[in-house]
């Protein structure tokens, strides 16, 4: 019944989801799940404060991300970025800082607009929301061009680059440096992490981007999921160690099971 070669993957998926659910329930019933603070998330108020002090705007962008939410690797990064955007937007509205959002991800536009509109509404300043704070450009190069142009013209005091970045990461990061902006970044794209780490002040790497909302909201549901995730990582680690040890005995049993 199950497709050959996917049986173990299916079992892993079920176990993972079960663990998420168990820890989520435990967290919901009041069990404390500690989480370390991400320096990149902790630095967001400082970045917004800097904009307020200097009277300059804040730039937020979520990367090329293959221009669509339907990309399974990039779409979730964009969604995680929008979750962080909602937090950033509220802080920015509270501090009276104008936030400009740049994107080339066409299908994310309604979500971004809704997120910003709600942030202004919840902070009691709905009249200040301007849909034209959201700038869309079709294509990677036009998008990069628009962001670079904005940086040169408006000189934002802080840039937040969160999402599925490609080669634009190093260009934007360096351009942000030339204008002396404080920069916070985050991506799960392994090929761009080195560039963002090199050019930005703070950086969320790999799954930290997905876990950031737990740090922001301290929502027990999200914290429970994180704990489940950690347990699965331990399981993988144990499997790796067992596999490493039994590989010396040339016993292929583990590989055979995992290949099923």
């Amino acid at each position: 019944m199950i497709v050959a070669g996917r049986q173990t993957a299916f079992v892993f998926l079920i176990v993972t989801i079960a663990l998420f659910y168990i820890f989520l329930e435990m967290a919901r019933r009041g069990r404390k799940i500690p989480i370390r603070t991400f320096p990149a998330i902790a630095a967001i108020p400082e970045a917004i404060g800097r904009c307020a002090e200097m009277g300059k705007p804040l730039l937020y962008t979520s990367g090329y991300a293959m221009e669509t939410l339907s990309n399974p690797d990039q779409g979730p990064q964009t969604l995680a970025s929008i979750s962080i955007l909602s937090h950033v937007a509220r802080l920015a509205v509270r501090a009276g800082v104008k936030l400009y959002y740049f994107t080339c991800i066409k299908d994310s536009l309604p979500l971004v607009e809704e997120t910003l509109r709600t942030a202004y509404l919840e902070e009691g300043k709905p009249e200040e929301f301007d849909p034209l704070q959201i700038n869309y450009q079709a294509g990677q190069s036009p998008y990069l061009n628009a962001v670079m142009g904005f940086m040169q013209r408006e000189r934002p005091a802080s840039n937040i680059l969160m999402g599925g970045f490609y080669y634009e990461s190093v260009v934007m990061g360096e351009a942000g440096n030339t204008i002396g902006a404080m920069q916070i970044a985050g991506t799960a794209n392994t090929h761009q992490m080195p560039f963002l780490i090199a050019t930005c002040d703070y950086c969320l790497i790999a799954e930290e981007l997905y876990a950031a909302s737990a740090d922001i909201t301290k929502d027990p549901w999200i914290l429970g999921c994180l704990r489940g995730e950690d347990i699965m990582k331990l399981v993988i680690l144990v499997l790796l160690i067992v596999g490493f040890v039994i590989s010396f005995a040339r016993v292929p049993i583990l590989i055979d099971i995992l290949k099923r």
Binding site: G5, R6, M66, N71, Y166, Y167, T178
Partner: protein, 274 residues
């Protein structure tokens, strides 16, 4: 105000100076080529070995997920791979997820002399552009005709002899993907793992490290950037564009290394003084 020392200056070379030096160093090899030897990596060797296993008439899909902007990095490998595929007498189906992919296809045809002896639609074809990322790649694996009804010139797919009996991943002997992004992952997940279609990757240097974890178990061979292209050109004994580009890579890499070392000398000297 204290005068800036030479050590401090070494750490703060104006970026425009670096840009100008880089620009000059990129031009020099075009005036006076260096022609240094290229060492060959194991991934490139296994790519060629995999290609050499193909038999006459085997259908190979070449996915072009790199734009014209990535020509310096991906085109040499695409050209070299196409040359080998023609030598193996494979039937080649090109398709692209990039809007400018047709230009890459036309460039490959222009650069590979072997295509002159072949017939379009019989020995090779370009089915054109597809959109929709992984869902589309998954759909291609199950039903090619659900995505492509014509080739890029508008000829109905059923009128193309090469496409007779080619409906899904099960009818394809190998997939090679040229990438600047994630399409290699999609083909691994939707073609290589479920259907066992041998998969090779031609990536830009920036993403080479992202695909390395899959080699050699899942990706049988791969090239990264112009260096990978130059390695493949050397292996097949036909130096091309990538071999020429290697000189520029030499000079540019050397500049970056020298700049980094100078900055660190300056940093170490100022730290010791403090």
């Amino acid at each position: 105000m204290s005068q800036e020392t030479i050590w401090e200056r070494l750490q703060r070379i104006d970026r425009r100076v670096i840009y100008w030096l880089l620009f000059i160093l990129l031009i020099i090899p075009f005036i006076r080529p260096l022609g240094l030897p290229v060492s060959i990596g194991p991934q490139t060797i296994s790519l060629l070995e995999g290609l050499r296993k193909l038999k006459e008439g085997d259908v190979v899909v070449v996915n072009i997920s790199s734009g014209v902007s990535a020509w310096p990095e991906c085109l040499p490998s695409l050209v070299a791979v196409s040359k080998v595929l023609i030598q193996q007498k494979a039937k080649i189906i090109y398709w692209t997820s990039f809007v400018d992919g047709h230009m890459t296809f036309e460039k490959i045809v222009e650069k590979v002399p072997g295509f002159k002896g072949l017939k379009y639609g019989v020995d090779y074809v370009h089915l054109g552009f597809y959109t929709g990322a992984e869902p589309t790649v998954a759909q291609l694996a199950t039903n090619i005709r659900a995505i492509f009804t014509t080739d890029y010139k508008g000829t109905p797919i059923d009128q193309l002899p090469i496409m007779r009996g080619v409906n899904s991943a099960k009818d394809v002997k190998m997939v090679i993907s040229s990438d600047t992004g994630d399409y290699g992952d999609y083909y691994i997940r939707q073609w290589r793992i479920p259907y066992g279609v041998p998969f090779a990757e031609i990536g830009i240097a920036m993403i080479f490290s992202s695909y390395q974890p899959y080699w050699p178990e899942i990706i049988f061979g791969m090239t990264g950037g112009a260096k990978g292209g130059a390695e493949l050109e050397k292996l097949i004994g036909e130096p091309g564009d990538a071999t020429v580009t290697m000189d520029a890579i030499n000079t540019s890499h050397l500049l970056v290394i020298v700049a980094v070392i100078l900055a660190n000398i300056g940093y170490a000297a100022t730290r010791r003084r403090r």
